[in-house]
């Protein structure tokens, strides 16, 4: 494969290359040993028929800390309007039935259908008897 040159990649500049030698990895000996273990360990286990292993010997900090208890707080979406004073723009009056309202406000066809639906619901509530 042809090397990537400025002519191939247009005007995008190549990143400065490292001038040979050992790549700079700042690891302590402990970290290096752990890295080697992490690479070797699955290879050894795979040979022995094991396929799972802990990713790291360190216990996750998130797991070690105790989870805070979940508390439920009621969410008020309209904090500026207290619930008891909230009045919707248009609402059914207390005790009014939806079909009753459609019957009163609707035109001829809606009136007929609302009355019929009301009778059907009454029949259903009455155990299927019309």
């Amino acid at each position: 494969m042809a090397p990537i040159t400025p002519t191939r990649i247009g005007s995008v500049e190549q990143a400065p290359r490292q001038s040979g030698g050992t790549p700079l990895i700042n690891l302590t000996s402990t970290e290096l040993n752990r890295l080697v273990y992490d690479v070797r360990s699955p290879l050894n286990q795979a040979q022995n028929g094991f396929s799972t292993r802990p990713v790291s010997t360190e216990e996750s900090q998130a797991l070690s800390t105790t989870q805070p208890q979940i508390t439920k707080t009621p969410l008020n979406l309209q904090p500026e309007i207290p619930t008891e004073t909230y009045r919707p723009a248009v609402a059914l009056a207390p005790g009014a039935n939806m079909l009753e309202v459609i019957f009163a406000l609707g035109n001829g066809q809606l009136k007929t259908l609302a009355a019929q639906a009301n009778r059907e619901q009454a029949a259903l509530n009455n155990g299927g008897k019309a």
């Binding site: 009045r87 919707p88 723009a89 248009v90 609402a91 059914l92 009056a93 207390p94 005790g95 009014a96 939806m98 009753e100 309202v101 459609i102 009163a104 406000l105 609707g106 066809q109 809606l110 259908l113 609302a114 019929q116 639906a117 009778r119 059907e120 619901q121």
Partner: protein
Amino acid sequence: MSEEKSALEQLEVALKELWKRSGQASVIAAKHTEFVIEPKIFMGDKLNPEILKMLALNYLSQTSHQDSGIGNVEVAPDKITINSPKGKPLVIINDQRVVQQYINSRL
């Protein structure tokens, strides 16, 4: 097999038609297709508040021109109450814009 619609389903269809005729329906027009956005009429055992508002406004627009039914509308400075012919309160309108428009139309 013919499936006969229940009265409630027919009522739903009729209200959707009324919604379309009221000019509030939204249409998404694609190149070869049109999608009409229909409201959900019944939300559980409740009427969609937008449909209720449409019915109430429609009713009020007729009562302001006709003598019949005016006795069924109680007007207060802050709200309008629509009553049944027997006097039972059915709908309460708190929308101040609607209340003011109704009061002004009767002057």
